[in-house]
């Protein structure tokens, strides 16, 4: 049997828009999310958290809590594994504080009781004695000479001598000679930008149900983007064997990167082990804000030189990111993505990872890239303005294409940036007239995308339907996309494929649903698993017909002779083969395990119109168009959904979302009332254009789309707001007080 590896046309299923298989469950309430399960004898847990930004834990006395009727157990750091190193130590230290509480909301103890209310009351009875230490929450302040040291020895070898101990990692990359490049420029602009931390803002709080017996065997149900990762980390933190903990992923009410990390699951397991009962733990929303990962905040310096014709001669950036009290702020991604859209002879970028008294940052959709685009694309916009150049033409003139040496090192393969810019230029939005008080902004954005460890099985049923088990939690409609790809290969209806997110006991390791990898990597694995099954189906037909296996091919859900010489047999439908599979060699299962490495990078161009009320500083986004390269859109509706979702979150990040800390280092706005994500009426209809420049690394040309969509919005909105207000905004969020202050500064000269 021969099958072409690549298929780029003639699709019958891929590219259609059927209803998602989980849709009915979700609209009827049948879908089970993290907090939707119970177990007999289940206890409820509450976590005790530090009210201080930085404090030594002198003593924890839980005797009063343990004396309360209904309380079954209390855990502290002493109930977890010892001797951990590296990231496992960081995660444990974050999950349950050791000697020191490192931020407002840091967990210090937890209690399990027979009801949620008793657990809440018991938590108040746990007495923690603190010695308050000096704190710092701002990235620039944390790098200053006089900043309090969060933790000695946290820096790795990359950090140059003489830096403050709060600088824990350093990155430098680029090529050429930027000074020579700046000397060639007709105009050089250098500017400083800042962005505040924002939270992923998923609607479902973290929730789990854990059991862990005295035999070291446990079960965990939780809301996560990757349950094998949860399994591995929890086993390490609890000191048990990985295979003894079976983890099942619930339906997920949003993740956006924030649920790639582990926060409460080890605590629930420790309480389950201590009480020998199932323990349910659901995070209240203020805890989600205080103690799960927001993204990093930044302080950035950008310098770009341009010739009068729009050619960028050189670019450099310094990116300082704080990611809370632990190493991990994605400053290398910020640095590497910053100038990726442009073919530059001279480029240099530096990144600093800085620790502060804030929660441990977690991934948030293209971690680090949106902030870089904000700073870089603002400067490009300013250059275009001053040199009176068209912003799209200028970007086209400098755009990266196949063969460009990327600002972060490698050579680009086939990419679609030029195509997105051309499509944006041709879109009616770009030439539509603006009303007074409105401004238009353009930005490009880039994300690497990722492959990662992936395992899939596809089991055929006796009636010719198929059960596809994948290991990547469905955070964006991926079950529909997987079913479409399997249906395409098998030649059976989409509805005949049931896709399940398998638990850790039933598939090989699957990396988390991150890096925009699911439709790419699980999709590739699904296609390969289906082809594996098709090969076995053809072999059964060949045996029946008494002809060689390679004389049979698969067409429209049937085995057929591969040509006139193979023999004259009627097509054998899938159900005819599967009906007899028990007697013809046993169950037919296709599978595929690999670490695909051909995730194609992805670019987008966004167009935004904003209107600013000059009397109040309030911004309305009045029109928004996303143009992005999807490689190949498997289910266009969910591709568009990713585009719109990235824009919507970007609008929040740009305009109103921010972590606000008081002078005491405590988070001031840990509720949705004061952490202002956009509501539906804040958003315009977000128009989308799907560009398809196939990714050579995927059988159908798929590129991940989930993250690139949030890379351009901050910059595109800032450029639109700056045009509308007539003053450059260099700090996010562009909240009304900040815009009014900028207008006033400009009036006062």
């Amino acid at each position: 049997m021969a099958l072409d590896d690549r298929k780029t046309s003639g699709f019958t299923q891929v590219g259609t828009r059927p209803n998602r298989p989980d849709g009915l469950d979700k609209v009827t309430g049948r879908a089970r999310f993290g907090a939707d399960v119970t177990a007999p004898g289940m206890l409820f847990a509450t976590i005790v958290r530090s009210p201080h930004a930085h404090a030594r834990i002198k003593k924890i006395d839980s005797s009063k809590a343990e004396a309360l009727a209904g309380v079954k157990g209390v855990v502290t750091r002493a109930d977890f594994a010892t001797g951990l190193t590296g990231e496992n130590w960081n995660i444990l230290e974050n999950v349950m504080a050791g000697d020191t509480a490192l931020y407002d909301g840091h967990a210090v103890a937890a209690v399990a009781a027979t009801s949620a209310l008793i657990a809440r009351d018991a938590a108040k009875l746990i007495e923690v004695e603190y010695e308050i230490l000096p704190h710092v929450t701002d990235v620039d302040a944390a790098m200053a000479d006089n900043a309090p040291v969060i933790r000695e020895g946290a820096a790795d070898k990359s950090v140059p001598e003489g830096m403050h101990p709060n600088v824990v990692r350093y990155h430098e990359s680029g090529h050429g000679d930027v000074d020579a490049g700046f000397a060639e420029a007709d105009l050089v602009i250098e500017d400083h930008f800042r962005t505040e931390a924002t939270h992923q803002g998923y609607i479902e709080p973290h929730a789990c149900l854990a059991t862990l017996g005295g035999d070291g065997k446990g079960e965990l149900w939780c809301c996560t983007q990757g349950h094998w990762n949860v399994q591995k980390i929890c086993a390490a933190l609890l000191g048990i064997e990985t295979a003894n903990l079976r983890v099942t992923a619930s339906e997920i009410g949003g993740g956006f990167g924030g649920k790639t990390a582990v926060f409460i699951e080890p605590v629930a397991l420790a309480l389950a082990r201590k009480t020998n009962k199932p323990v349910k733990l659901v995070m209240p929303r203020p805890d989600v804000f205080k103690a799960t990962g927001p993204t990093a905040s930044t302080s950035m310096d950008i310098k770009i030189g341009m010739k009068k014709d729009g050619t960028i001669t050189a670019a450099q950036g310094v990116f300082r990111l704080q990611g809370g009290a632990f190493p991990g702020a994605p400053m290398e991604f910020t640095a590497m993505c910053a100038f990726a859209p442009y073919a530059l002879k001279h480029v240099h970028q530096v990144g600093y990872d800085v620790i502060t008294n804030r929660p441990k940052q977690a991934a948030y959709r293209a971690p680090g890239s949106p902030m870089a685009a904000f700073a870089v694309e603002s400067v490009i916009d300013e250059l275009c303005r001053k040199l009176e150049l068209d912003p799209i033409e200028t970007r086209l003139k400098n755009a990266s294409k196949k063969g460009t040496k990327a600002s972060f090192g490698p050579m680009f393969d086939q990419i679609g940036l030029v195509e997105t810019l051309e499509a944006a230029k041709a879109h009616p939005h770009y030439s539509a007239p603006l009303k007074p008080g409105q401004g238009r902004g353009i930005s490009c954005g880039f994300w690497f995308n990722h492959g990662g460890e992936t395992a899939v099985t596809l089991a055929l049923s006796e009636d010719g339907t198929a059960q596809l088990a994948v290991g990547t939690p469905d955070i964006g409609g991926s079950r529909a996309s997987m079913a479409l790809m399997a249906a395409e290969e098998l030649g059976i209806p989409y509805e005949n494929i049931r896709v399940t997110i398998a638990d850790t006991a039933t598939l090989g390791y699957n990396e988390v649903s991150h890096g925009s990898r699911v439709t790419y990597a699980s999709g590739l694995a699904t296609i390969e698993a289906a082809r594996d099954a098709v090969g076995k189906l053809c072999a059964r037909a060949a045996a029946k017909w008494g002809i060689p296996e390679d004389a049979v091919k698969w067409e429209n859900g049937c085995a057929v002779p591969s040509g006139p010489n193979a023999g004259d047999f009627d097509p054998m439908p899938i159900a005819e083969i599967t009906k007899r599979m028990g007697a013809t060699g046993g169950p037919i299962v296709g599978h595929f395990e690999a670490t695909p490495e051909g995730a194609g990078v992805s670019f987008a161009t966004h167009i935004v119109d904003a209107e600013v009320d000059p009397e109040t500083g309030k911004t309305s986004v009045v029109r928004y168009t996303v143009v992005q390269d999807a490689g190949k859109a498997i289910h266009p509706t969910y591709v568009e959904g990713q585009y719109q979702g990235g824009a919507a979150q970007g609008i929040g990040w740009a305009l109103n979302e921010e972590y606000i800390y008081g002078d005491d280092g405590r988070l001031q706005n840990a509720v949705f009332l004061d952490y202002r994500i956009p509501v539906a009426s804040d958003l315009p209809m977000i128009d989308t254009v799907i560009v398809e420049v196939p990714n050579p690394g995927h059988p159908y040309g798929v590129r991940g789309v989930g993250e690139t969509s949030i890379c351009p919005p901050l910059a595109a909105i800032a450029n639109a707001v700056s045009a509308a207000a007539g003053v450059r905004l260099r700090e996010l969020p562009m909240s009304p007080p900040r815009i009014l202050a900028a207008l006033e500064r400009q009036r006062d000269g």
Binding site: R120, P286, E615, T616, G617, K618, L655, N656, I660, Q668, N669, L673, D674, R676, P678, V679, S681, D682, S735, P736, P737, L740, A741
Partner: protein, 289 residues
């Protein structure tokens, strides 16, 4: 916690008067239940007033005003066929509280007694000259709305007292009211500044006015200087400038997560101008702008 469901105001007052510790009345519950859930406050005594006769009624007074029961929800006010024609500002202000779901429960009295400086209904109520009937063990008194809140979360109600009725004055001829708030979003937010204005005209000239500001001081503020700035004028540019200046001058806000002192002070003037234009248009019979 003791939970009571009295069927008369007398019973409710008797329960409240005898209660120890923290007492809360439950009508819509959109503040008290949320505070309990969020572990901000757990009352010792919770008195559900929804079983009392007449608390869900909206009725015309003999003088041509309105009486509104203490458990009437925002949605019921918005959907009332006549109330909003007389007092569009009051109804619109109440309609701004929370979401559609919250509108089905929230009440004006709850908004008033929660005593948030940022309460949306209160500046409009103050501007409209609304009074409330306060009943307690020592009898009954009629109190102007502006005299109920005394500070954030605090009211002038004595222990055992409760509000039993809201009275809107007769609209009369040639009057109009309006309420505007500033929020960074379009809904589901809390006022950074609020302004209610109620005025009456004779021809083109303003003869009476009341201007109330929210979220710019510890309590909602009735600003006489701002009213004086537009009384006797046709709301020309000079009057609007004077109004904005008087409104801003009356502010003593705080810097917090929701807005800065400078921002609130400035926007109070902007909103006063905008609300005045709407109220003026309503009073002079122009179409709403």
């Amino acid at each position: 916690m003791q939970y009571h469901t009295p069927t008369s105001f007398d019973d409710a007052i008797a329960i409240a008067a005898q209660a120890d510790g923290v007492t809360r009345f439950l009508a819509g519950g959109t503040d008290v239940l949320v505070q309990m859930r969020a572990d901000i406050l757990t009352p010792d005594t919770l008195i559900n007033v929804k079983g009392i006769d007449g608390v869900k009624d909206i009725t015309r007074t003999p003088e041509g005003g309105w009486q509104i029961g203490i458990a009437v929800s925002g949605a019921e006010m918005t959907e009332h066929p006549e109330l909003g024609r007389d007092w569009p500002g009051v109804v619109e202000a109440t309609d701004l509280i929370g979401s559609t779901q919250v509108q089905g429960r929230c009440t004006m009295v709850g908004n008033l007694c929660n005593a948030s400086p940022a309460a949306d209904a209160v500046p409009a109520m103050v501007a409209a000259g609304i009074t409330v009937t306060v009943s307690g063990p020592d009898g009954t008194r009629e109190v102007a709305v502006e005299d109920i809140p005394t500070g954030p979360g605090k009211t002038s109600l004595a222990s055992g007292e409760m509000i039993t009725r809201i009275t809107l004055p007769p609209r009369g001829e040639n009057g109009g009211d309006a309420y505007l708030r500033f929020i960074p979003r379009t809904e589901m937010d809390i006022a950074v500044v609020g302004c209610g204005i109620n005025l009456r005209v004779d021809g083109d000239t303003i003869t009476e006015a009341r201007v109330a500001l929210g979220a710019v001081a510890p309590t909602v503020r009735l600003v006489a200087e701002a009213a004086e700035a537009i009384i006797g004028t046709t709301l020309d540019d000079a009057a609007l400038a004077a109004l904005a200046e008087a409104a801003s001058a009356a502010c003593s806000p705080i810097d917090d997560k929701r807005g800065t002192i400078k921002f609130r002070t400035h926007v109070a003037g902007v909103l006063a101008q905008r609300a005045a234009r709407i109220a003026y248009a309503r009073a002079t019979g122009q179409k709403d702008s």
